[in-house]
Amino acid sequence: MYFKLPNKIIDELRRWLPILSLTTLIVFLVGLYFSILNSPPDYLQGDSMRIMYIHVPAAWLALGSYSFLALSCVCWFIFRNPNFNLFAKSIAPIGAIFTLIALVTGSIWGKPTWGTWWAWDARLTSMLILFFLYVAYIMTWQSIVNKELAAKISAALGVIGFINIPIIKFSVDWWNTLHQPATISKLSAPSIHISMLTPLLIMTFAYILFLATLFLIRLKIEIIEQKILRANK
């Protein structure tokens, strides 16, 4: 059955874990160096723009992880292979943390630029809604006792969430044009100068590596839990 195949790959990757974590750390430190020391402050926002280097990658990965989650739910419906559920279940908490980081750093960044901790900016609001979707998905696994049922329900929920992201995006943007005072749009990435692009890309790469490491760890945990479950049955 499919179940055996990925096991071998994941056991293989498991041995690479320490190296993977190390490279993530190195890339992260390089990214930090570039974003803090080696890039000019923005002419308008000054140094507070450096928060962008950790806010924007977190937002990208938050959305990226949810798309991955929803994609594995769709694949589970099509191929009925239990592994896809494990993928979705492993990525969910990581994606939720990235969304949380994006929210917190976004509001910290907002303080100097708009003077308030929270502004109903279109992207921040969508990020907040995305956080709700993550919490809903994670809670499905906890509150439904019978695990086969929980797998089916959470898969359905993942897909529902995914269908709703464009709808929510569309309505929040439209709503934003209705109430949007002009100044707030400044939070959108300021005119990216080449010297600012490099730290952003390095940090994004570091985030992706970190996501991969955590995903691998979470997946291994889920697979072991499956084995323990099956062993006790």
Binding site: P41, R50, I108, L214, R218
Partner: protein
């Protein structure tokens, strides 16, 4: 040099608090999941030993 690195002409407190929050959550996340992975692997090993 060092002092203005922290001061960052006024924005330092925001920049550093944001970075601090991100780094701390990364470290906690990594540590929590890595330790629970080791715990789970240990549990599996004991289970397999018990079954033989």
């Amino acid at each position: 040099m060092i002092s203005d690195l922290f001061y960052m002409n006024g924005y330092g407190v925001y920049v550093w608090s944001a970075y601090f929050f991100t780094l701390i959550s990364f470290i906690i996340l990594y540590y929590y999941y890595y330790s629970s992975l080791l715990k789970k692997e240990q549990e599996l090993k004991n289970l397999q030993l018990k079954n033989e």
